[in-house]
């Protein structure tokens, strides 16, 4: 290597140094620390602090609250991602047909996505109000105690989450639709393809890859979702909306079990990484057309 090349490499390293330092200090280091914490029995208020090995993880295996939270996380993730993708594609196709007023359409769509999840939770808390909520007023005498009924609370939380995050899926699809050249559609028309055939044979397959990517991002977000259920239901009623992240948070900061809560956090982390890896594997194999 010449002196000039070495100097260029040194300069490049100086450029990335602040980012690497910040990530090292505030993401990687805590990421290793949390592993260490998860191997300890640590309850500060009782002044308990000792090495516990894998005890916390062993307890998780027999902890019914953990399995219930895992179950809730799975339903929340599958339910919200499936709805978001379906609604997102529909919204994108609809906006794509608009000739005049696209800006307004996109503004109305993105409104829900841009606001804090805490605000979305407050909007839905008001919509779900047992007596004066818009939803129950519309349902008339079939009204439901949305956030108080163990059977209704999780669907209610899913609905609020879908409302806020569907626009993200829709925007990605919409951008992909804009990138499909017009001659693709013209060729289909020449071949005598009807509108339905064009949609199912051409448009949707071309959306495959971006949908998979959108589903990946949304799945990762849904697995670590916290704000919406923490504010809307606090994990209740009767723990029916308590996901793994909410359980981990409560163990850490409400019952102050630093070691056990950290073990739960590590599980969430591993889950997210495993799902990300699986999705990337599918994207790599090219099973879905670009």
């Amino acid at each position: 290597m010449t002196g000039r090349e070495a100097a260029a490499q040194r300069r490049a390293l100086v450029c990335v140094a602040p980012t690497v330092l910040a990530l090292g200090a505030l993401t990687v280091y805590p990421g290793i620390w949390v592993l260490w914490l998860s191997l300890q029995h640590r309850i500060p208020i009782f002044d308990v602090s000792r090495f516990a090995g894998l005890e916390n993880y062993a307890f998780l295996a027999v902890d019914s609250r953990f399995w219930s939270a895992a179950h809730t996380t799975a339903i929340f993730t599958l339910g919200s991602v499936a709805l978001e993708v379906t609604l997102g594609v529909t919204a994108a196709l609809a906006i794509h047909t608009v000739r005049r007023g696209r800006r307004l359409a996109l503004s109305l769509l993105l409104l829900a996505w841009a606001m804090p999840a805490v605000v979305a939770a407050k909007l839905f808390e008001w919509l779900y109000h047992p007596a004066a909520g818009l939803i129950n007023v519309a349902l008339g005498r079939y009204s439901i105690n949305w956030l108080g009924d163990p059977a209704a609370a999780l669907p209610a939380v899913i609905l609020a989450d879908v409302w806020r995050t569907m626009p993200f899926v829709a925007i990605l699809c919409y951008a992909r639709l804009l990138a499909i050249p017009a001659d693709v559609y013209e060729a289909a028309q020449v071949d005598g393809a009807g509108r339905l055939a064009t949609l199912t044979r051409i448009t949707l397959p071309l959306l495959g890859r971006i949908l998979l990517l959108a589903a990946l991002f949304r799945t990762l977000d849904a697995l670590r979702a916290f704000d919406i259920m923490f504010v809307l239901t606090g994990g209740g009623p009767a723990g029916t909306t308590e996901t793994l992240t909410v359980y981990a948070y409560r163990a850490l900061f409400q019952t102050l079990q630093l070691g056990f809560g950290s073990a739960l956090s590590v599980v969430v982390f591993l889950l997210v990484m495993a799902v990300a890896w699986a999705y990337l594997k599918i994207l790599r194999t090219g099973a879905v057309a670009a």
């Binding site: 990530l23 805590p30 047909t97 007023g101 606001m115 804090p116 925007i171």
Partner: protein
């Protein structure tokens, strides 16, 4: 399709999207409803509009303080993330950086990082450094959490700039810093705006860290203040509605006024690989 049908279809889509935004508009209407009419539905429309809820929120609650905190923390987070992220993005996109692939892999992996995984050690770290309940603590955490996406987006935008401009500047004898400042940054402006908006929104909306690391009104951000909005005997729905509207004001302004940059950033983050 004929023109009137076309227009009708356009109107139908916009109306459907307006219906989608009803949760927001309903809260907006609630924030102007007189207290006595809040729980009397139907009728849906109030007999008159009032500013009393906004008056209560602005004069008697801690919301104005929280708004200030959020504005300050989100702005500083954006600045720190951009200042630290820009050189890194340039190095990733253009310079002969050793270990580029592992670094990129680490950056992509850390965008998937769940916040809950680091919140317990970060809490201990904040306590040890005496940064709990300070702007500095939250800005550092938010900026480092936003950095991977910032670098990723900016690197993508830099790659879109034709390299000839930089080569010409270098032939003219401009050094790295001057080339970056006078050639790259001006061409990068729209991408910079997109990245800044997404970073700002992330910090403005972020709840888990803000909730954990803030203790008092000294640093409490707006989502936290809203989540903890006090009610004495009953839930003050009108005041909460007014506070929600204040909390969503910057995001709504961004969506309406800076939509182009927002959409570009969103799409770039997902599509570039």
């Amino acid at each position: 399709m004929r023109r009137p049908v076309r227009t009708l279809a356009d109107v139908a889509v916009v109306v459907a999207l307006a219906a989608y935004a009803i949760p927001f508009f309903w809260q907006l209407l609630t924030s102007f409803k007189p207290e006595a009419e809040l729980l009397r539905v139907p009728p849906l429309l109030p007999s008159r509009l009032t500013l009393s809820h906004y008056r209560v929120v602005i004069e008697q609650s801690l919301m104005p303080r929280a708004l200030g905190n959020s504005l300050g923390i989100a702005t500083l987070t954006t600045l720190v993330a951009l200042v630290a992220g820009m050189p890194a993005a340039y190095a990733v996109a253009r310079l002969p950086l050793p270990g580029k692939r592992p670094l990129l892999l680490a950056i992509v992996a850390s965008t998937a990082f769940p916040q809950i995984a680091t919140v317990s050690p970060l809490y201990l770290l904040m306590r040890a450094l005496d940064l709990r309940d300070t702007w500095t603590g939250l800005v550092l955490v938010h900026a480092s959490f936003a950095l991977p996406l910032t670098v990723w987006l900016l690197a993508g935008f830099i790659r879109e700039i034709p390299i000839e401009a930089e080569e010409a500047a270098s032939v003219d004898g401009a050094g790295l810093v001057r080339t970056f400042r006078w050639v790259v940054v001006p061409l990068l402006a729209p991408g910079l705006a997109s990245t800044a908006l997404l970073t700002f929104l992330f910090s403005w909306n972020e709840f888990l860290f803000a909730y954990t690391f803030t203790v008092s009104e000294a640093s409490r951000t707006i989502p936290v203040a809203l989540a903890l909005f006090p009610g004495v005997f009953e839930v003050p729905w009108g005041d909460i509605a007014a506070a929600s509207m204040l909390a969503s004001l910057p995001p709504v302004l961004i969506v309406v006024a800076l939509q182009r940059f927002l959409v570009r950033g969103l799409v770039a983050g997902a599509v570039k690989e």
